[in-house]
Structure formats: structure tokens, C-alpha cells
């Protein structure tokens, strides 16, 4: 399983995905290969996939630290921690100064697992931004 096989699969799916979402994949080359996945209608919140030795990481960037209202940071952190378990399949993290939701899959996952993960992650991201809107500028 690597980003190219994932891209091939998602691109051939087109409108036939079981999740009802339509994926558009674009590899980004660098020191670590990444797949940028745009979901039709949700282009503003792409999912990034990177594949390591033992896992497939799917990450969506939520907001930067500068978007958080000054006096809401602690409350927001608490809300995020509390939501971490109820939120299906995804977890919160922070990379540099950006908050993210991510899901980690086994390297032995099927294409269907990955497709499902992407749909859930995207839904979670939208819902989280909606729910955390009060803490954001």
C-alpha cells in the first residue's frame, strides 16, 4: 500500500464510491510523499495522506493557533479533549501551530477501509469546525 495505489483506487472510483463522496487525488512530492485528496464540494478542507512503514496517516488541517480567540484557548482545549473519544475514528492533534484531526490506519488496511476513513475524517472535520466555532475568530 502506497500513496500511488491509493490515488489510483480513489480516482477510478469517481461517482461509484460507497460513501457518496467524490475524491480527487493529487500527489505532492517531497522528502516524504504525500497525497492531497480534495473532496468535491469540500475543496477547502483537503485530506492529506502519508504512508509510513507500518501505518497510513490521514490528516486534515482545521485551524491555526492565530484563529483561536485569546481567552478561549483553555476552554477549547478542554472541549477538544472531551470530544476526542466520542468522535468516531479520528483524533485531535497539533502540528506546529496548526490544529488537525487525523486517523491512523494499519498498513494492511483495504481500499474500502481507507475510503471509509476519508469520509469519516472529512465529516468529523466539518462538524468539529462547526462545534468549535464559538472559540474561533
Amino acid at each position: 500500500m502506497n500513496i500511488h495505489t491509493i490515488a489510483d483506487h480513489l480516482n477510478t472510483l469517481a461517482d461509484n464510491s460507497t460513501t457518496g463522496l467524490c475524491f480527487d487525488c493529487q500527489p505532492i512530492s517531497g522528502e516524504v510523499d504525500i497525497l492531497q485528496i480534495s473532496i468535491v464540494g469540500r475543496e477547502e478542507l483537503p485530506v492529506f495522506i502519508s504512508v509510513t512503514d507500518d501505518q497510513i496517516l490521514c490528516i486534515t488541517y482545521l485551524w491555526g493557533i492565530e484563529e483561536v480567540k485569546k481567552d478561549s484557548l483553555i476552554q477549547m482545549h478542554e472541549s477538544m479533549l472531551e470530544m476526542n473519544i466520542p468522535m468516531p475514528l479520528s483524533s485531535f492533534s497539533k502540528i506546529g501551530d496548526k490544529y488537525v484531526v487525523f486517523g491512523a490506519l494499519s498498513i494492511n488496511s483495504t481500499f474500502e477501509d481507507i475510503e471509509h476513513e476519508l469520509a469519516v475524517l472529512s465529516n468529523n472535520a466539518i462538524e468539529v469546525i462547526d462545534d468549535m466555532g464559538d472559540y474561533l475568530v
Binding site: I28, G30, G41, R42, E44, F48, S50, D53, W63
Partner: protein, 230 residues
């Protein structure tokens, strides 16, 4: 220091410099080498264990054989005594004594092999657990590194394509607007569909002569004729 703490310190320390590798790649290489060494030791320990277990089995067989022979010769000694051949009985007894001393040596060897095998098995189990743990730690370090590199590649991609990152709220607004537009389209399509089916129903009723009938020339003429008569 635990691996968690190391990673945390590294992230905190390197957070200001995006793109800079946070973990010394040399340290990662050394760690990978350590895991490979441990795996080699494990392979050797397993080979040793096989050897010791083979020796253990052979010692076991020897102990069985000697015990059987001792019993056998004890029988011979009794028979010799029954025949009153004291000299023969003594010779057999000497043989038994030699056999018993051999037996004792073999038993000692067997016990020592058994002990060694147990120790090696425990060592193998311990090494295996250690390798799994080391691999987990290495995976954590590598993942941290990979996420860091991935982030810098994503950031580079965004700045090079000149596309400005929207704020989370703006992104959400746009997505919701698109969703609304899509929903509206669906609704409009549905409405159109239902209107069409209404029309077709009305047409069916009309052709069946049910409901309001449109006036035509003959009905108008009938009406005028009726007025004339009155």
C-alpha cells in the same frame, strides 16, 4: 528518558523551525542498527536453543537405555544367584555398578541441558519482547519525523501554488454554501418532478372526462342554443 518525553521535548524545541528535522537522523540510524543487532542475537539464541534441546533429547534416550540395561542385568544377577553361580553373579554386579555410574553421569548431563534450555527459552522470549518494544519506539520516532516532513511539504505546496489558506470558519461557510446550493438544486429538481407528475395526472383526468373541461366550439354553440330557447 522515555521515548514520549524525548519526542515531546524535540517537538517543543523544534516547533519554531518548521521543516527542520526534529530528530537526529543519525540517532535513528543507530537505533535501527541496535534493533538489527538484537534480531541477530535472537536468531543465534534460537539456534543455540535448538542445539541444546537436541542434546537434551539424546541424553534422555541414553538415560532410558541405561536404566533399562540396569534392570535387565539385575534380572541376570538374580538368575545367576538362583543357579548358585556366585562368581557369575559378582561379574554381573560389577557390570551393573559400571552401568549405574554411567547412568548418573547421563542424568547429570540431562539435568544440565534441561536447565540450559529453560534459560535460553526465557532469553528468547525476553529478546523478542524487547525487539517489539524497540520497533514500536522507532515507529513513533519515524512517524514524528515523517509528519514533520509532510507538513513542511504541504506548507511549501500551499505557498508555491500561491493559494491563500482560508480560515476554518470561512472554509466551513463556503462548504455549507455549496451544500446549500446542492440541496436547493435537488429540491428544485424534486419540485419540477412533482409538478410534471401533477400535470400528467390532470391530463389523464381530462382525457377521461373528469374534472373541469375546457370549453370548445361545440360546447359554446350548445350554450348559445340553450340561451336562444329560453
Amino acid at each position: 528518558m522515555s521515548i514520549f518525553k524525548k519526542i515531546m521535548t524535540a517537538i517543543r524545541g523544534g516547533a519554531s523551525e518548521v521543516g527542520e528535522s526534529i530528530i537526529d537522523s543519525n540517532a535513528t540510524r543507530i537505533f535501527e542498527q541496535e534493533i538489527r543487532d538484537a534480531e541477530n542475537h535472537l536468531t543465534k539464541a534460537k539456534r543455540d536453543l535448538t542445539g541444546v534441546m537436541a542434546e537434551q533429547m539424546s541424553a534422555n534416550r541414553e538415560v532410558d537405555r541405561l536404566s533399562k540395561e540396569v534392570t535387565e542385568h539385575e534380572g541376570y544377577a538374580v538368575q545367576a544367584l538362583e543357579k548358585g553361580d556366585e562368581t557369575l553373579a559378582l561379574a554381573v554386579a560389577e557390570k551393573i555398578s559400571t552401568l549405574e555410574s554411567d547412568l548418573a553421569t547421563q542424568q547429570q548431563a540431562r539435568d544440565s541441558f534441561t536447565g540450559n534450555a529453560e534459560r535460553l527459552k526465557e532469553l528468547v522470549r525476553k529478546s523478542e519482547r524487547q525487539i517489539v518494544e524497540h520497533k514500536r519506539q522507532l515507529s513513533m520516532v519515524k512517524t514524528t519525523e515523517s509528519v514533520q516532513k509532510a507538513t513542511s511539504a504541504i506548507t511549501d505546496n500551499f505557498s508555491s501554488s500561491n493559494s491563500k489558506l482560508l480560515s476554518a470558519k470561512d472554509s466551513l461557510e463556503r462548504i455549507k454554501a455549496k451544500q446549500q446550493k446542492f440541496d436547493d438544486k435537488m429540491k428544485a429538481a424534486e419540485m419540477l418532478e412533482s409538478e410534471n407528475s401533477d400535470n400528467s395526472l390532470a391530463a389523464q383526468l381530462k382525457s377521461a372526462g373528469i374534472g373541469a373541461q375546457s370549453s370548445n366550439a361545440s360546447s359554446v354553440l350548445d350554450r348559445i342554443k340553450a340561451k336562444q330557447k329560453s
